[in-house]
């Protein structure tokens, strides 16, 4: 049971809560083949309108996307409120709404760490990372890491870290998308995966960052409206008495008051700390999130956008807490949402949508189903853009090309990369259809926390980091996070079928992240080469630029 709970929450964590083994509170999760639903016309109509509007925006964005600076960073002309809403949109995903709600419904308090971890990460990104990132980089976080280090090796190592996160995250999203669409709209899995990939390629390859930001922005606003409505209805049903929501949940839930306290999911301190570290520091290493800081004109706007993002996310997570505990009262034990055997219809991830239906009827259900689909589109578009930027900018233009690359060449490569990533997403989405991919999600965040984050933060703040140190740290983080996850319950037991895992925790971060930092330190200190001295000396220039922004690229207006 513990394993079941763990993989459920792992999945919820990375927006792929639609996959995973059966759900403890009754009802099968969407694992293996799911039953195709009859066509839901209301949801399809609303989704069709969303697609039309976003394609219109893409057409407009395409006319404003002429240079690589437009493509990767929307010309640096995004306003702080727009960027902030889009950042929040990256976290207000189908999985936050469906997955965390489902996790709270099943296990209560322990699931809250998934929301709290995000809210602890963002302020620290603001205090330590946002400003320096904006001042030092142009399109990707790898620009910042390679600022004073030897370009070629460090770009390759960071690009591997960045692309691993993008690809693992994409697999998780595609499989989740296919299952969700099958369930909500009654479309075949394979068509659903192709449709998602097709729309994503349209947004990204034509509209670049400008279209991607707008798609994310519109979706975030729709989700906030829907979520506010449901949470308001829950609070209203309890006559605006918050205490009563929890009291009623504890009375109805089979675990009783245990759902209001720690212990139902995470049993030992190392697991808890590992999840805590992965949540907080993994977010600081997500390439598609870090990329958004280059879309605003300067450090001042970067700060404003984080404030907008943090406020919207905080508000949304509080709604989720109300919705999750409220769902226990209105969905659990409601025969309308359970089959004859007492299993919840559609599995644990449908809890939020059942509550939506209970509170707002068929119209609201159609609306929120369409928004859930839109959410996946927006997130995969952002991921693909980050992947394309890494391939075209970091690898092609800055590492492997002989001689200077023109704007047109780099744009062409980034569009080819977008198509390739879209195709990879379809192929892997189909290959993993009936697999348990919960581990893929854990892997993406663990790599972000153990590879990207340590290299990034040390390159910004530690004068004595050298290329050798950064590479040693990156490789250590990468090998440990992948290796330990293979030996963990979610792969060793669930995928390979061995009885006992060789590594007991689902997250390797408790070990992999500190060891990555240790390797950076050790190999930097031991590095006495002349190259290392030069890199340390360059820190002064980097410091001046990171604090003042002298020399950063200009902006364009839209």
């Amino acid at each position: 049971m513990n394993k079941v709970i763990m993989s459920f929450l792992t999945a919820a964590l990375l927006n792929i809560a639609f996959i995973g083994p059966s759900f403890a509170a009754g009802g099968a999760m969407i694992e293996g083949p799911v039953e195709k639903q009859p066509l839901n016309m209301g949801a399809i109509t609303i989704f069709f309108i969303f697609v039309m509007v976003t394609l219109g925006i893409t057409w407009w964005a395409a006319r404003n996307t002429k240079t690589k600076n437009d493509f990767y960073a929307a010309g640096g002309g995004i306003k702080p409120w727009q960027n902030g809403t889009a950042i929040a949109g990256d976290f207000m995903s189908a999985a936050t709404f469906l997955g965390i709600t489902g996790a709270i419904y099943g296990f209560g308090f322990d699931a809250l760490i998934l929301a709290v971890g995000v809210m602890a990460a963002w302020p620290v990104i603001l205090f330590l990372i946002a400003e320096r990132l904006r001042n030092l980089g142009s399109y990707t976080f790898i620009d910042v890491v390679s600022y004073r280090l030897e370009k070629k090796p460090i770009r390759i190592v960071s690009a591997i870290g960045s692309l691993s996160v993008v690809v693992f995250y994409l697999i998780a999203q595609m499989v989740g998308a296919g299952k969700l669409i099958q369930l909500l709209f009654g479309l075949d899995y394979i068509y659903a995966v192709i449709l998602v990939s097709f729309l994503m390629i349209c947004y990204v390859s034509f509209g670049g960052m400008l279209a991607t930001t707008w798609v994310q922005l519109i979706k975030a606003i729709l989700l906030l409206i829907g979520g506010s409505f449901i949470a308001f209805m829950v609070v209203k049903s309890f006559h605006f008495n918050f205490e009563a929501i929890f009291a009623s949940a504890a009375k109805i839930h089979p675990k009783g008051t245990a759902i209001l306290a720690p212990g139902l999911w995470l049993k030992d301190p190392i697991s808890i700390i590992s999840v805590g570290l992965t949540m907080m520091f993994g977010i600081m290493g997500l390439p598609h999130i870090l990329m958004r800081f280059f879309t605003v004109k300067d450090a001042k706007d970067a700060r404003k956008s984080v404030f907008v993002a943090t406020s919207l996310m905080g508000y949304f997570y509080i709604l989720i807490i109300i919705i999750g505990f409220g769902a226990v009262t209105f969905v659990m034990g409601n025969p309308d949402y359970h089959d004859g055997a007492g299993k919840i219809l559609g599995g644990g991830n449908m809890v939020a949508l059942h509550l939506t239906h209970y509170m707002g009827g068929n119209f609201m259900l159609g609306f929120m189903s369409a928004v859930a689909f839109a959410t996946i589109l927006a997130v995969v578009a952002g991921l693909t853009l980050a992947g394309a930027a890494t391939i075209a900018h970091d690898l092609y233009a800055k590492t492997f090309s002989q001689g200077p690359v023109t704007n047109a060449q780099e744009m062409k490569v980034s569009r080819i990369a977008t198509f390739a990533l879209g195709a990879v997403a379809v192929v892997l989405g189909i290959a993993f259809e009936n697999q348990n991919v919960a581990f893929v999600a854990a892997l993406a965040l663990a790599i972000a926390a153990s590879v990207n984050f340590p290299i990034l933060i040390m390159s910004m703040y530690w004068r004595n980091m050298t290329t050798k140190g950064a590479i040693a740290g990156g490789v250590t983080g990468l090998v440990l996070s992948i290796g330990l996850i293979i030996l963990s319950p979610s792969v060793w037991v669930s995928v390979f079928g061995y009885a006992e895992p060789l590594f007991p925790q689902i997250y390797p971060t408790f070990y992999s992240m500190p060891l990555a930092f240790a390797a950076i330190w050790l190999f930097s200190v031991l590095d006495n080469s002349p190259r290392a001295e030069q890199e340390k000396a360059l820190f002064d220039e980097q410091l001046v630029r990171s604090e003042t922004g002298i020399g950063i690229s200009g902006t364009s207006k839209h």
Binding site: I113, F246, T257, V544, T548
Partner: protein, 106 residues
């Protein structure tokens, strides 16, 4: 565009640059510690004091200390980012612009 050595030196030893570095460094460190401390308390509380977190906030009530802490960390994050970006955008930007003007970049 990389900065030349003399440009870097000139800025690095400018009193206003030193002031900016010191003020901003201290400010962001204090704020980061406040967040890390609250989140750390919450995570370590789950590890080592689960029974304390399970206690209801009011006698006979259902809202536990744990839930209040979770909501507290969320609100605390919102408040700290608000204060930081408000302060930084006024205070640090002012120092920075004075510095850039003095160095002839603006």
């Amino acid at each position: 565009m990389p900065l030349s050595g003399t440009e870097t030196e000139k800025c690095l030893h400018h009193p206003q640059f030193k002031q900016l570095i010191r003020a901003r460094g201290r400010f962001s460190l204090v704020f980061s510690l406040m967040i890390l401390l609250s989140y750390g308390l919450y995570v370590l509380g789950m590890c080592f004091a689960p029974t304390a977190m399970a206690q209801p906030f009011e006698e006979g009530g259902s809202m536990t200390y744990g839930i209040l802490m979770a909501v507290g960390v969320i609100l605390w994050g919102m408040i700290c980012s608000g204060i930081y970006s408000w302060w930084a955008n006024r205070h640090f930007e002012a120092i920075k612009h004075a510095l850039l003007k003095d160095l002839g970049y603006e």
